[in-house]
Amino acid sequence: MKLIFVILIKELKSLFLSPLFYLITFLATILMGITYSISVWNFSQTLANTMLTMMGGQTQQQNIHYVVFVPHLSLLNLIYIFVVPALSMRLISEEKKNRTFDLLLTSPVTSAQIVIGKYLSLLVVNFGLAAICLVYVFIAARMFEFNIIPTVLALIGIFLCGAAYAAMNLFASSLTESAMISFFVGIVLNIGIWIVGGLTDLMDQPILKSIFEQISLNSHLQPLIEGVVKLNGMVFFMSVVFIFCFLTERVIESVRWRA
């Protein structure tokens, strides 16, 4: 446990000392700020129109969760898709390239501890980005009266997506000594897991359709976006994280045998 913490702190220090991290969070904040302002303005306009329509006798329900927060959280997801590979690309590939991996492998630390330490550092950064996103929700909660729970659940869903990306991208980083290759493989994996979900509609056979539905990120995220927690969704996210962390651990361990 102590060694996991040692690796986590080291990775966080190097992330927080890197200008890349500050550039990413700065750009993410700017993007979120702009899109949030636009969403809120659109929502207020739609609300005003709705009220006018209601006076004419028609009713149409407007929901701040779907109009403002879901697009806001979708942006966070998009940020995760591109930012997580940028942050994870150096984690293992650079250790291999700079031969600092020799130090890790000759220290009394297991491959699993190395992977968990590095993975947790990515989760902390993901959490930081989610926290920035949450600031806008809290500001809205102070200004308007609405049920915040579905939005928080949706944010947890997006955070879990980020956790899955982190595991996949850490795996990508373990495969190569080149940070750039790791970055591109990471993006391909992140986009790929969404494309797999899109294939569900193209399947004719019910079994294949069911399989693709179960491995689709979207089908497990959707209930959380709607404010519903489903056990199979949680199991799916945990499984993706576990499988890719396990594969990363195997790749690290294989160095001892392949070297």
Binding site: K2, L3, N98, D102, S107, W257
Partner: protein, 311 residues
């Protein structure tokens, strides 16, 4: 302290090391000597637990490297060929990180860190980023990280490679200072390094141990043979005349006035050789005998009798 039994490592069909057997006692400084590609680094990587052997056993302080890897790694300080430094860290924070990784007891952490900084003369640059240091300093940081846990065994893979002569001398001096406090195994293909720092030597060639003993005993393997450099005044070929002498094993003609003669040392041999040159009328200008040293033994054991003799 270090025990290696029937160690083999194959890379596909290529056998990097074959049936290595050696024992190193506590406090020894052992040089693993061999030409490039002999299997030195592979042996070291197996000893440190970085890599698994194909067959065989390696034990450090009684612990099997692959049955108790964590116990072994706590007791080892390893400097690979390229120092494993994080360029974006300061020397101090890097060494603190390494001592945490090596599970150094909190009460000794500061003391060991200070000692390693002092021994490697890094006090003046302790707060500087490693990326801003010269190659020599980076190498010292690499040695400091191997020392920072005060390990029982130090494994140094080519510790002076790429350093300038002054830095090489400093690193050798440091290794001498560490003698007695740690058991040290260092690999190199530089003979003078072994002579300057080690008390034992293991010569390895094409994955096999060709000689292992105290450095003095190894040097004596070729005792009784010497190389004599002869310079003459007059430009006159003496090659055939020298070859005709009974004690002469080989003659290398550098120029018509300069010869290197390899011969057995029987006490009277030098007198006979001097007489022969003087009587030939070439005029003896200079004659300097040299006993064979570790370099000759090394060349003979690694590159073979014939080539070693010619060199």
């Amino acid at each position: 302290m270090i025990e290696v039994i029937d160690l083999c490592k194959n890379y596909g069909d290529r056998k990097a090391i074959q049936n290595l057997n050696f024992k190193i006692s506590a406090g020894d400084v052992v040089g693993l000597l061999g030409p490039n590609g002999a299997g030195k680094s592979t042996t070291m990587k197996i000893i440190t637990g970085f890599m698994a052997p194909t067959t065989g056993v390696a034990k450090i302080c009684g612990f099997d490297v692959f049955e108790n890897p964590l116990e072994v790694k706590k007791r080892i300080g390893y400097l690979p060929e390229q120092p494993p430094v994080y360029l974006d860290m300061t020397v101090q924070s890097y060494l603190e990180y390494v001592s945490d990784l090596k599970l150094v007891d909190r009460q000794f952490k500061k003391e060991y860190l200070e000692k390693s900084l002092i021994k490697t003369q890094l006090l003046s640059v302790r707060h500087r980023m490693i990326k801003n240091l010269s190659k020599g300093f980076k190498q010292r940081v690499g040695i400091a990280q191997a020392l920072v846990s005060n390990p029982e065994v130090l494994v140094l893979d080519e510790p002076t490679v790429g350093l300038d002569p002054k830095q090489v001398a400093e690193v050798r001096e440091l290794i001498k200072e560490l003698r007695g406090n740690h058991t040290i195994i260092l690999s190199t293909h530089i003979l003078s390094e072994v002579q300057a720092t080690c008390n034992k030597v293991i010569i390895i060639h094409e994955g096999r141990i060709v000689a292992q003993d105290d450095i003095d005993k190894i040097e004596k393997l070729n005792q009784g043979i010497m190389t004599v450099s002869i310079k003459t005044k007059i430009d006159k070929s003496l090659e055939d005349l020298l070859r005709g002498m009974s004690d002469v094993l080989d003659v290398e003609k550098v120029t018509n006035t300069y010869y290197r003669v390899k011969m057995s040392d029987r006490g009277q041999s030098l007198d006979d050789l001097a007489h022969l040159v003087i009587n030939s009328g070439a005029g003896l200008l200079e004659m300097s005998p040299q006993n064979e040293n570790l370099e000759d033994v090394f060349l003979k054991l690694t590159y073979g009798e014939q080539k070693g003799g010619a060199l």
